[in-house]
């Protein structure tokens, strides 16, 4: 009798703790989301207010866009190649290997171009942004900007935001083209099918909307990466350890946001 009472009390306590934990997680998540949105509003407000940070924005475009290019090229090329390899051997089982060009083109423009570049930029530029802004925060450089009559959101966040929004689509297009070339190399070079057929299959079924929707997706990914990484860096606390946590947090949250929002964007754009 006693022991059953005790176990019941223990059970109740465990349930309470579980509910408490769930509640805390929800609160923390909403808090974080709210603060990210506040940063977005602050950035948008500063976006249209002169003076414009042309030099800074250009520097960030170089950092986020051009410096990510080698990794994007290599990743896209090999993804296109392996994709062609797998679909060719797979589709051969039911005699549809002529469709390889179409499959590679559609998946690279609609899906892999935006998502792969998104994940690469999140790992490369997202981490760099969070680490840089985080270090600036813990060494009081962000406070110093304020004392020098410079709005840190305008000076630091806006250029990175613009760079993210414009460079990601550019990278995604390059990735898609590179992937299609990778597919061509394998299908035509390795499996010795007709070069004309590959290109014909690629262009015949590719629609403008595929490319356009891919651009919209990658623009959204670019905005998310910049905003999340800036947010993580901007609100860093606790010295070197804090900077490390902010960097990891930026990469994890950006990547999750890309993968999850990719589904919902696809539902909305391609339904």
């Amino acid at each position: 009798m006693k022991s059953s009472l005790r176990s019941e009390a223990g059970h109740e306590e465990r349930m309470l703790r579980l509910i408490e934990l769930a509640g805390k997680t929800v609160i923390r998540f909403s808090e974080e989301l709210g603060r990210i949105l506040l940063l977005l509003f602050a950035a948008v407000k500063q976006l249209f207010r002169p003076p414009f940070e042309a030099k800074n924005t250009f520097k960030q475009m170089l950092e986020i866009g051009i410096r990510s290019l080698p990794v994007v090229l290599i990743t896209a090329l090999f993804t296109g190649m392996v994709f062609a390899l797998q679909t060719f051997t797979g589709f051969k089982r039911f005699g549809a290997e002529s469709l390889v060009g179409t499959v590679v083109a559609l998946s690279m423009t609609r899906e892999l171009g935006p998502v792969l570049t998104g994940l690469i930029v999140a790992g490369r530029a997202g981490a760099a942004i969070a680490a840089e802004l985080g270090t600036m925060r813990v060494t009081e450089q962000i406070d110093a900007l304020e004392t020098l009559a410079t709005n840190p959101v305008k000076y630091l966040v806006v250029p990175r935001f613009i760079a993210g929004v414009f460079m990601l689509p550019a990278l995604a297009v390059i990735a898609a083209i590179t992937g299609i070339i990778g597919g061509y190399i394998v299908t035509v070079g390795l499996f010795e099918t007709s070069s004309i057929a590959y290109w014909k299959r690629t262009w015949d079924y590719l629609e403008v909307s595929d490319i356009l929707n891919g651009l919209i997706k990658s623009g959204f990914f670019g905005a998310s990466i910049s905003l999340i990484s800036c947010y993580k860096g901007f609100y860093t606390r606790g010295g070197a350890e804090g900077v490390g946590k902010a960097t990891t947090g930026a990469v994890v949250l950006s990547s999750m946001t890309i993968l999850i929002s990719d589904y919902f964007l696809s539902v909305w754009l391609f339904k």
Binding site: P51, M136, T139, E140, Q141, D143, A144, E146, T147, L148, A149, T150, N151
Partner: protein, 259 residues
Amino acid sequence: MIEIVDLHKSFGKKQVLTGVNLTVEKGESMVVIGGSGSGKSVLVKHIIGILAPDSGTIRIDGIDITTLHENALYEIRKKFGMLFQMAALFDSMTVWENVGFSLLRSKKMTPKEVRAIASEKLRLVGLVGVEEVMPSDLSGGMRKRVGLARAIAHEPEILLYDEPTTGLDPIMADAINDLIIEMKQRLKVTSIAITHDMNSAYKIADRIAMLYEGKIVETGTPEEIKNTQNALVRQFVTGSAVGPITIEGVQYEKSFNRA
């Protein structure tokens, strides 16, 4: 003139400032002393408007900055220059770009003119030929000097010093003290320094105020502070572990030793 009236600030449940009252006259050098974590940095960040108070007012030459709109606040900040504890130099820029940062951004001068002014300000703090050096290649004392040159580049009326001598050797610390006095005499600035270095406080202050548990508990000239009857202040300025101020986390050990 700077007038702080009944300033309150909490972070979460932690009350940091619990009704600070302090007036600093034009041209005066005020030093705020207080232990680590007494809220000195928080106070100074309120004066320059980086932090907003929960309640209370801060008037700079009669203007209440706690109610100011963002743009007006950035405008009023041009009256200020601040030297940060670790100098807070922008490590992606050279020394002269750091010093000339606000001038370069205001775009009223060519980079060449800004550079000339930066060199002049650097000379004023005793640095020559470091214009092209990156901040990471400077020693702690030199970084503080560059930080000071940056703080005075736009010719502010008020200078704020956050622990100006912390982390420096005694000779370098004294050199910085001399610089602070020189800034006051040559530039006729109002200055507020926060520190727990009493040598520095006695040397640079016209008046000293002590912050304890979120309030100013005593204000006076260095001489008055030296001879104070206030037990809290006495304990702090003489640097004794025994007295009304208790050190957080050490209580248990003491009572244990006594038993």
